[in-house]
Point group: C2
Chain length 338, copies 2
């Protein structure tokens, strides 16, 4: 186990390195931090920390930089979450309050997060897996052409055209609409398939084919809606990454464009509470030199989606975590209100 002072040394190294972006040596440490010991002592501690794998030397006769393991320890044991200042909080609220619809909320959140953390922001659209159906509407555009409209409790509306083989009477339509709604309204997407399974049987022979078609389109829509979407922003902040750009930045940009990858990343994070994945802890190889801070957000108690930031492993963890948490809270509020 590491002594109290050694942990303190590690904390100082992380803080300095995050600030200066340069390997930090024993002398500089004792000057900038009140450790109460001499550089020589610090050197011994550093040697111990290096043995344990918490810090490393880029080359002999250079200072030390934290390893992924070092950051991990820092985040777990040494760093708190830095709360945002009052003006910052107010700014967040003002900025988010102006949003007019879901797209706007997500868009503003991304920009806000990117600006606050000066890193790349990722915001997942509220997932509909846990959403419920508010209303299903059916209307005839032509004798053999229907339109299906699905309204969810998160305010999303989706519509699909349905081509039927045979004309479908107005009464049958009204009938189907009524029965469908009585079964699925208020239910979760995932429960719908079961609930409507036997619906075709209760219709006349002639209409069964059409009813089945309508249902299959509905189920398809539900599945599609469950597909998770996200928005990213602040990619320009990647330029603050390091000096050896092309190599570092390229795989990150590529990973960011693959929304599938990001969604998987978010999916791996805890549903509640904040998750910090550091460097090689990220499975995707384009992101092994980045850290990802994520947190769930939602309109109620339950998280409906996640948001977070992607930045260099050398990031200001307390500040980033504070910003991410604060933004998630306010977005949750906004969603709850609307």
């Amino acid at each position: 186990m590491l002594s109290e002072r050694r942990l303190e040394v590690l904390r100082a190294i992380v803080q300095d390195y995050v600030g200066t972006e340069e390997p930090v040596g024993s002398k500089a440490l004792t000057e900038r931090h009140k450790l109460g010991v001499s550089p020589a002592t610090v050197r011994n501690d550093m040697a111990a920390l290096e043995d344990e794998g918490y810090i490393a030397q880029p080359h002999t006769s250079a200072g030390r930089i934290p390893t992924d393991k070092g950051y991990r320890l820092f985040v777990d044991k040494l760093a708190g979450v830095k709360p945002l200042s009052v003006p910052e909080r107010r700014a967040i609220q003002n900025f988010l309050d102006g949003a007019v619809d879901l797209d706007d909320v997500v868009g503003r959140t991304v920009r806000l997060l990117a600006q606050l953390t000066r890193q790349v922001a990722v915001v997942q659209y509220p997932s509909l897996t846990r959403s419920t159906v508010r209303h299903v509407e059916l209307l005839a555009l032509a004798p053999a052409r229907l339109m299906l409209v699905l309204i969810t409790d998160t305010g999303r509306v989706e519509q699909r055209l349905v081509d039927c083989q045979t004309p479908f009477g107005e009464t049958s339509l009204a009938d189907l609409r009524a029965r469908l709604n009585s079964r699925v309204v208020g239910r979760r997407f995932t429960d719908v398939p079961q609930l409507v399974q036997d619906l075709p049987e209760s219709f006349e022979q002639d209409d069964r084919a059409t009813v089945s078609t309508v249902l299959s389109v509905l189920l398809e829509t539900l599945v599609e809606e469950t597909e998770e979407r996200l928005m990213i922003g602040g990619t320009a902040n990647l330029t603050r990454f390091g000096h050896d750009f092309p190599l570092t930045i390229r795989p990150v940009l590529e990973a960011l464009e693959e929304h599938v990858v990001l969604l998987k990343l978010l999916g791996e994070a805890k549903d509640s509470g904040m998750t910090v994945r550091i460097g090689h802890e990220n499975a995707h190889e384009g992101l092994t030199s980045t850290s990802v801070v994520t947190v769930g957000y939602g309109s109620g108690d339950e998280a409906v989606a996640k948001l977070g930031v992607v930045g260099p492993t050398r990031m200001d963890y307390p500040g980033t975590m504070g910003a991410v948490r604060a933004v998630a809270r306010y977005v949750g509020q906004i969603l709850a209100e609307s």
Copy 2:
């Protein structure tokens, strides 16, 4: 006026520089291109081209590189549009044919363009300014609550909830639906306001308020729909930009995130035919070291939106233009089919 040979020299310089990314000298030129004259002659021509501002020297005793003006001349007079190979065309078609909805079409197009040109692709969603109304549907969710559904000829469907002060009878509703459709179907969005202006008057006193409300929601939707959206992709290709990354790439990434800027950029381009804006011809200062190649695309004869790529001024213009044009054509076809 520049002689035939001098133009040829300029063409050779552009081609070589685009290929090698290094200033090109007189000797190398005569070796790689069959100009039929000696390096000394080429030097004279180069001096003349430099006087005219078509090429420049990064420093004394270095080769020449084309200026924005040089690229402009190259694009206008010297370069053709390089048609894509048959396999490339087939690949485009195959790739786009798999699209399931509008979002998917746009998403695939962006990825395709980015891959083909190895640059940043920008695709605007089909604009609805020139779109026409295919159908308007009204349905009663509750006695005093209607849903308005708008279907456009580009396949987009939008819906809005309408809260009325007074209940609205089923017959009135059917009446309004019929009259509304007879007036606006097939008409352009921009013409709709005029066409429905006097509609409330033709209804009974009791219903007029509701009709007005419905109409105002419809008009609102039309305006909102006209708002232009776009999708970008291939930002990872920015890493191939040059050697002096951070400075070059940052403003470009920033500009790309500002969709407003990009939309303005697209808006400034010609509606028909291809537009190439080179370096400082781009108003936005973040893009003064990039060239933007855009072209309109649409489901019929008329362009409904634009797409294009953003890349370094040092780009393969004929190839890029060929890819952009080909993709635009195929997207147009896809849209026309659906």
